[in-house]
Amino acid sequence: MTTDTNPTPPTTPKLGNVAAKQVKGMLGGLGVTLRTMFKPAVTVQYPHEKEAPPTRARGVIALKEENCTVCMLCARSCPDWCIYIEGHKEKRPPRREGGRERTVSVLDRFDIDYALCMYCGICVEVCPFDALHWSPEYEYSEPSIAHLLHDKDRLGEWEATVPEAEPLELGAVVKGAKK
């Protein structure tokens, strides 16, 4: 290990210089506060005036009910277990004459408890059928914490506020798209 045998000697600044520097700094501080006082404040008076959130803001999770297949992937991937899903199977008539009856899953209940949700967005990521989307809506507070459990009708209303998806890049192939 090499030790610096020749350190630069600490220069002792003159007392007058230090004092001048300090006074300059203190007056500068006063200038900053005075200037800020005459600039308009950045505050937005929230209930009276509103700020538009960014387009892709993660405000609330919306549900497109007809896309949901009750596959439970979102409920299982949720770290907070805040998604409640119930569904049942129904028989539907066959597509072709003489064919077999089809079985479909019907969604009975889709609740998200926003008192528990931590807005991680894993459910939106994991949904294979694009049934869940981020909406920039943010005004859904309730007087009681129990009322933060929102059902599929409420989640469906927010679907209207979901911004349009960005157009695909030129030449992108859409998998499974029907002609």
Partner: protein, 344 residues
């Protein structure tokens, strides 16, 4: 030339007491609202309260005061109850007594035109140290005790530069009577030029600066708020106080700021007098209080401007500033003032 109505001294005393008792909370409210809520907010690029009362949150502080009155009055089990209860009253009392000598016009002083006005005002201002020490000691709380000891050390250290800064003005005016000092500034002349009168700030600017710094420390406002440094001492000597008693300390703080601003305005800015208006004119009896109030707001603006700009000093820096800088400068200032007074 006195007011036409002849009333007994008892009634006069009663009226004056009520006026001063009203002045303290009103002064505290005005300063608190204008500077603490509004000016500080705008200096930090925000708006402060906007909704209470409908217009720019003017009702906020009054509402806060009413809230404090409703709160439960808690006295710690180990506290020295009588001293604990008395302490806030003594702090406010010192503010109350300082108002007595403040002149508001050519023919009236708030209560009494004392010949030793400046001396009296500064003497009663140091009464608050006793209240603070009582509060800290009676709370039986280590934070309160440390806070009150810090406050005592600070208030004593800054009493000296405060008094020494005033002496320069007193030497120039040749009187300790506050009314006399105002008269000197209204009627005086600077080297023969009497356009503005002689506001002492023009010749005693060093004294004025020292007075403002020392007053800031006496009020234990930032950057000298070590007695209530919340990161070290929670709230210092106020830590055990709730509700109305806490409100007393709050009113005391801002009421005292109001009086100190009044004292600075009277000593250095010419008090109730206006340039170009004859000080003996009867109209000054009506204009005087308004003029004084405007000057108080100006001085208070400087105080609170510094308050909202600078961070808190360290305890040893605080003491070093008083003993190594302010007191020597004040002594030199007195010497220079005396020499110049004799020379001219």
């Amino acid at each position: 030339m006195s007011l036409a109505v002849d009333i007994g001294w008892g009634t006069t005393l009663g009226i004056k007491t009520l006026v001063v008792m009203g002045l303290i909370p009103v002064g505290a409210l005005v300063l608190g609202y204008t500077f603490l809520l509004k000016m500080m907010s705008h200096m930090q690029s925000r708006l402060g309260p906007m909704d209470p009362g409908g217009f720019h949150g003017w009702y906020q502080l009054i509402g806060d005061g009413l809230k404090f009155i409703q709160k439960e009055d808690i006295i710690p089990a180990g506290a020295d109850k009588r001293v604990f209860k008395l302490a806030p009253a003594i702090v406010v009392l010192s503010t109350f007594l300082m108002f007595v000598v403040l002149p508001g016009g050519p023919d009236f002083v708030v209560a009494k035109n004392l010949d030793v006005g400046v001396f009296y005002a500064l003497a009663v201002s140091s009464l608050s140290v006793i209240g603070v020490l009582m509060a800290g000691w009676a709370s039986s709380n280590k934070y309160a005790l440390l806070g009150s000891l810090r406050a005592a050390a600070q208030l004593i250290a800054y009493e000296l530069p405060l008094v020494l800064a005033v002496i320069g003005a007193v030497v120039q005016a040749g009187t300790m009577n506050l009314q006399g000092i105002v008269r000197f500034q209204a009627d005086g002349a600077i080297f023969g030029w009497d356009g503005l009168g002689h506001p002492l700030i023009l010749t005693q600017f060093v004294g004025f600066a020292l007075f403002m710094v020392a007053a800031q420390a006496e009020l234990s406002q930032p950057p000298f708020d070590m007695p209530v440094a919340e990161s070290e001492l929670v709230a210092g000597y106020m830590v055990e106080y709730t509700g109305f008693r806490f409100l007393f300390f709050f009113i005391g703080e801002f009421g005292t700021a109001f009086v100190y601003a009044g004292l600075a305005a009277t000593l250095f800015l010419g008090g109730w007098s206006l340039p170009f208006v004859d000080a003996d004119d009867n109209i000054m009896n009506f204009l005087g209080p308004g003029v004084l109030f405007a000057k108080i707001m100006l001085v208070a603006f400087l105080m609170f401007w510094a308050r909202f700009t600078y961070p808190r000093l360290r305890e040893d820096q605080l003491q070093a500033l008083a003993w190594k800088w302010l007191i020597p400068i004040a002594l030199v200032n007195i010497l220079a003032t005396g020499a110049l007074k004799v020379a001219f």
